[in-house]
């Protein structure tokens, strides 16, 4: 067989020739022609004009030819929907074929032809195939339901395919079960209807049985689905864990990681003092280590996940630091990840070994790796106090090598060591100063300048050193300029007599010759401080600095918990929640996926708050969310300018709910041109309050190295609904009566096709709680309560008439006019 000849075709008149060949009388010739068409399609040529001729070849008893035609159909049907109809008959016929392989092939291919008109014809054959006697056909049909759902979700629901799919979970064949689980999981992710998978102990038992018998891939689908289940008590959690642990010995690393995910999640539910808890922890470590003997790509995925696991439960791998030692021939991406984990596991017990390794790495070839190794030595010094001295001497050895980037990196980390252990290692400053000339990176220059300024009293020629930097002041980066300004002011406060000229020089450079507002502002502040009150100036500039923290770049705990739920997936590789890189994703958390339809539209889409044209190239898009009782502002920063951006900060104007950010903007590295960063800013409502119009308006100021920008956005109100907003029944009754009628508001919700239970379920996910439900004259009445972060209660009555998509709602609240507007916004 030499099919490669199909790839080499003469250019001119090719289509014409193919057309002729496709209509050739001989079957063999036609097959050859179709092969050529597929080859052309593969390399990206447009062969869609041959559609009718290729479809003509479909009526054949030659399976190979049939498959080729199907492949063509899947590619081009969408561009030729009318022609695609021609194929329908043949599909429907094939679905009745006595050969199960042909039946399955037909139903599989039909699902891939994404043409609305065809999907109508697909329903009947699919229904039959879902109940086919042959498991091969059933397992194919199960996946086909997911395909159809992707094209037309409503149709799948109307035709009752979801129920058929759910029935397949009880199928006798494990592979059918696995595919049904996979299809249901995918559908439930995008489906507004909650509880699609209906995980109950009975179903879980079926899944666990199938787990032992199905293919490796099926095991992955089932384990990933199991990890979304919430066991009702610790006994159930333990019994599931017991049946999942054998999977840790599977040869397929994805099976192992998915099993680890289930166990890591369920561990939370087990009592910490039980024997089983300890045993389980012990069982987790060997399989994680084994993953590192796999192929490099799997090692990489494993290491990214281990990085999370080590942060969540350091005890699992604390004994295993040796397996993370870097091998000379590891690919660079494995090396960098191993290094990261080594630092996390470094402790007093193993620090000697770790340091010896790091020193070895610092002499390797790859620049990034070497830099990271040097930085790691610094982090060891900060993390393990007993090792600080050894780390410093290792760093000094490295500085002696005079390798430019090693020296620069070492100086940056030494600054941090000085901050952590003041008055201990300053004797090495002289050595550092020797390398002043070789520093050409802003980070290193700034670090060195900081050191000189901070310890100016111990360095005889500090003024000369700083003066040498001053010469090219305007060519320096802002970071260096700012540090230099502060350093010279420090120097002046320590040695006022000799340095007056110098300080005047730098102040005038900063205030008069610079366009940078930050630099100017800082310059003016110093200037005024120094000229009015030198004593206060000393207190301000030379004040004691807070100690720096031991652990750097830890993942924020709520994000870490979320990522643990995504072990093995891309989210765990990127260390980002899925909604940061998946379009229209609502997370796999069932609850967060079931946001009320109206609200979903309202905030799941990132809105562009600050267009790049208005902010000198910085674009900010964002949304608000509430996760596990905390509010977040999720934003994407995109740098569309030509220069890099640093020094980000954010500030909110006073607003109706007192919303303020609880942490500074977590952007630590410069944002390069065309780079984007996704951040999640935790918020709280303890800030100053001022009524805004509209009520949920929020005015934001964002600053970066270029300028300060302002924008305003609307906060969806549902993020203010707190988790304990469920009012006691009695209290509800009393309060309802007490609120005067003028505080009541009536409204209608239109076009909402849901029944009372699903509505209340959905509302509950947004912390709107149903207190009571009553049926009056065929109408469902729901009584609900919710509480805002500022303590205001809102009570509601919701009337639902079956068959009438418009709901009538009544809302009452005990607060003032303030709340009126609020209610308007909720729906």
């Amino acid at each position: 067989m030499t099919d490669s000849k199909y790839f080499t075709t003469n250019k001119k008149g090719e289509i014409f020739e193919l057309k002729a060949e496709l209509n050739n009388e001989k079957k063999e010739k036609r097959k050859e022609a179709v092969k050529k068409v597929i080859a052309a399609m593969t390399v990206g040529k447009d062969v869609s004009s041959l559609f009718p001729d290729v479809v003509n070849c479909m009526q054949t008893d030659n399976l190979e030819l049939k498959k080729l035609v199907y492949l063509y159909l899947m590619n081009y049907a969408k561009s030729q929907p009318d022609m695609a109809i021609m194929a329908v008959n043949s599909f429907v016929k094939d679905c009745e074929d006595p050969n199960p392989l042909i039946r399955a092939l037909a139903v599989r291919t039909m699902g891939c032809i994404r043409v609305d008109k065809i999907t109508e014809y697909l329903c009947e054959p699919l229904r039959k195939c879902l109940k086919d006697e042959d498991p091969y056909v059933r397992k194919t049909a199960a996946v086909c339901v997911a395909k159809l759902h992707d094209i037309n979700a409503q149709m799948v629901e109307d035709q009752g395919f979801l129920d058929s799919l759910r029935d397949l979970i009880a199928d006798s064949n494990p592979m059918v079960v696995a595919n049904a689980v996979a299809a249901l999981s995918e559908i439930s992710e995008s489906h507004p209807n909650s509880n699609l998978l209906d995980l109950n102990p009975q179903n879980i038992n079926k899944l666990l049985t199938a787990l032992n018998e199905c293919t490796e891939w099926g095991q992955i689908f089932i384990l990933d689905c199991l990890s979304n289940y919430n066991p009702k008590d610790e006994r159930e959690a333990q019994s599931i864990c017991e049946r999942v642990t054998p999977r840790l010995s599977h040869a397929n690393s994805a099976v192992v990681l998915s099993a680890v995910k289930v166990l890591m999640k369920f561990l939370e539910l087990l009592p910490k003092d039980s024997d089983y808890y300890g045993t389980l922890l012990k069982k987790l470590s060997p399989p994680l280590v084994t993953l590192l003997s796999g192929e490099p790509e799997v090692q990489y995925v494993a290491l990214r996940n281990i990085n999370l696991i080590v942060q969540k439960r350091p005890e699992i791998l604390k004994q295993e630091i040796k397996v993370f030692f870097v091998k000379y021939n590891d690919p660079i991406y494995v090396k960098l990840e191993k290094l990261d984990i080594m630092i996390r596991l470094a402790s007093q017990a193993n620090i000697a070994q770790v340091l010896a390794e790091l020193k070895e790495y610092a002499t390797e070839v790859d620049v990034d790796f070497v830099r990271k190794a040097v930085r790691a030595i610094g982090r060891c010094a900060i993390k393990v106090e007993q090792s600080a001295e050894r780390c410093v001497s290792t760093l000094l050895d490295l500085i002696q090598t005079k390798v430019n980037y090693v020296v620069q990196e070492a100086i940056v980390v030494i600054r941090d060591i000085f901050r952590k252990y003041p008055n201990k290692y300053e004797s090495i400053i002289a050595t550092l100063c020797e390398n002043l000339d070789s520093l050409d990176e802003p980070d290193a220059r700034a670090a060195m300048i900081w050191i000189v300024g901070e310890y100016a009293e111990r360095i005889d020629n500090a003024d000369e050193l700083l003066e040498s930097f001053l010469e090219g002041f305007h060519d320096e980066s802002t970071q260096v300029q700012l540090t230099l300004l502060t350093a010279i002011v420090k120097l002046f406060l320590k040695k006022p007599s000799e340095t007056q000229e110098l300080v005047q020089q730098v102040l005038s450079l900063a205030t008069q010759d610079s366009d940078n507002p930050d630099l100017r502002d800082r310059g003016y502040i110093y200037w005024r401080l120094l000229s009015t009150d030198p004593v206060t100036a000393k207190e301000v500039v030379l004040s004691e600095k807070p100690l720096i923290s031991e652990e750097t770049d830890l993942i924020e705990p709520t994000l870490l918990d979320e990522l643990i739920c995504h072990i093995g997936s891309l989210a765990s590789v990127y260390h980002k929640p899925p909604n940061a890189f998946v379009e229209g994703s609502h997370g796999i958390h069932q609850h967060s996926a079931d946001q009320f339809a109206i609200m979903k539209q309202y905030f799941s889409v990132l809105q562009v708050w600050l267009p790049a044209t208005k902010a000198k190239g910085l674009e900010i898009a964002g949304t608000f969310s509430r996760r596990q009782g905390h509010m977040y502002m999720d934003m994407t920063f995109i740098n569309k300018a030509l220069q890099h951006m640093t020094d980000f900060a954010i500030q909110f104007n006073k607003n109706s709910f007192g919303v303020i950010p609880t942490t500074p903007l977590p952007i630590h590295t410069p944002l390069m041109p065309n780079q984007s960063i996704d951040i999640s800013l935790p918020l709280s409502t303890i800030g100053p309050v001022m009524k805004m119009d509209p009520l949920n308006n929020l005015q934001v100021a964002v600053k970066n190295i270029i300028d300060v920008f302002y924008f305003s956005c609307l906060i969806p109100l549902n993020i203010f609904f707190v988790e304990d907003g469920k009012m006691e029944r009695q209290v509800f009754l009393v309060t309802w009566k007490d609120i005067p009628n003028e505080n009541e508001l009536q409204y209608q919700i239109k076009e909402c096709h849901l029944n009372a239970d699903t509505v209340s379920g959905k509302l509950q996910n947004n912390n709107i709680f149903t207190i009571a439900k009553r049926n009056v004259e065929g109408q469902d009445m729901l009584y609900q309560s919710l509480k805002l972060t500022n303590g205001i209660w809102i009570l509601a009555e919701l009337r639902i008439q079956p068959g009438n998509p418009n709901y009538t709602g009544k809302k009452k609240t005990n607060a003032t006019a303030f709340s009126y507007k609020l209610m308007v916004h909720i729906f």
């Binding site: 490669s4 030819l65 790509e297």
Partner: protein, 441 residues
Amino acid sequence: MIGGLFIYNHKGEVLISRVYRDDIGRNAVDAFRVNVIHARQQVRSPVTNIARTSFFHVKRSNIWLAAVTKQNVNAAMVFEFLYKMCDVMTAYFGKISEENIKNNFVLIYELLDEILDFGYPQNSETGALKTFITQQGIKSQHHTKEEQSQITSQVTGQIGWRREGIKYRRNELFLDVLESVNLLMSPQGQVLSAHVSGRVVMKSYLSGMPECKFGMNDKIVIDKQGKGGTADDAGKSELGGSGKQSIAIDDCTFHQCVRLSKFDSERSISFIPPDGEYELMRYRTTKDIILPFRVIPLVREVGRTKLEVKVVIKSNFKPSLLAQKIEVRIPTPLNTSGVQVICMKGKAKYKASENAIVWKIKRMAGMKESQISAEIELLPTNDKKKWARPPISMNFEVPFAPSGLKVRYLKVFEPKLNYSDHDVIKWVRYIGRSGIYETRC
């Protein structure tokens, strides 16, 4: 799930492109070529995110396989699938090369249609696939009804890796215990890390659906039996000869034919094997490893233009055994101008293109010692950076298992056919190879 799968040659031309999901467009094919294959800098991760689309890639010789998705897929699964895809292709047409892929593109499309449905991996055991993806379309039409249902029940069944009705005149099986021993040693001879990763590869030519049970000198099993106090076991392990009675296995993983729940509860390894060759288990040990060779390096810098290197290797196993294919690789600086070597045994050569002295010895018995010394002349450079001194690495092959693992039994039961465990001819072989076996200097 996987949205599409592309195969490229080294130039970045697409050889195979199969799209499973609507969210993946044709431009994804080009995005990967431009940003990964043609990237100016070598890509530093096997997962790349380009415009909210994630690309997973593996490379086999100069062929790129890339899986594409826009969803939060199971990343480990995608890579495992790509490896599996490579295995399947190799099983069908041998080496993965541009020529072979072009020659078999129709077959590859057929396979991709079968083993990946809407981006969900399906049964991908070659044993099962070969029963119905044959590239002889007409023939499969003539399957009888029984044959057809046999195929489908095998593809979807509990024992998807073996078909019914296999017959051999002679029932025979081969067990290979293949170990790779890994070492990182400091210049002073301190073991920084050492582990053995082993595989038990089985070739089975057995009739019917045989039930097998595999036993080895696993410490946990032996200790359990030891409590029972059978003198029989003690006698057996003495015959083993290595002096070690049992070994501690850190962790092991099994082929999907092994019943994992049974291993978890009883630590017994029972299974119905696939036909032909497959990997039964993988394991890892770190305790009491027999390190077959010890490398003692001595590097002396004589001035700025000369290096003296002396390396001694010592074999550390029974004198009656022979190690083979021994190779010691001593790295040399980039500015090496000339090398003189003297070695007691074997042949040594300076290979300028590899920046190393390669010393080869065909055979070496246990408890022996050999030595090489070399003088390396250096060109004077003004490069301030010191030479990084990569570690000295070693390759070899020894006829025993450095972990100390011994096969105790492999029992075969096939109740339906008339052959018993005694009629099966069994062969066991141990091979220990060097993995990454390095000594820093």
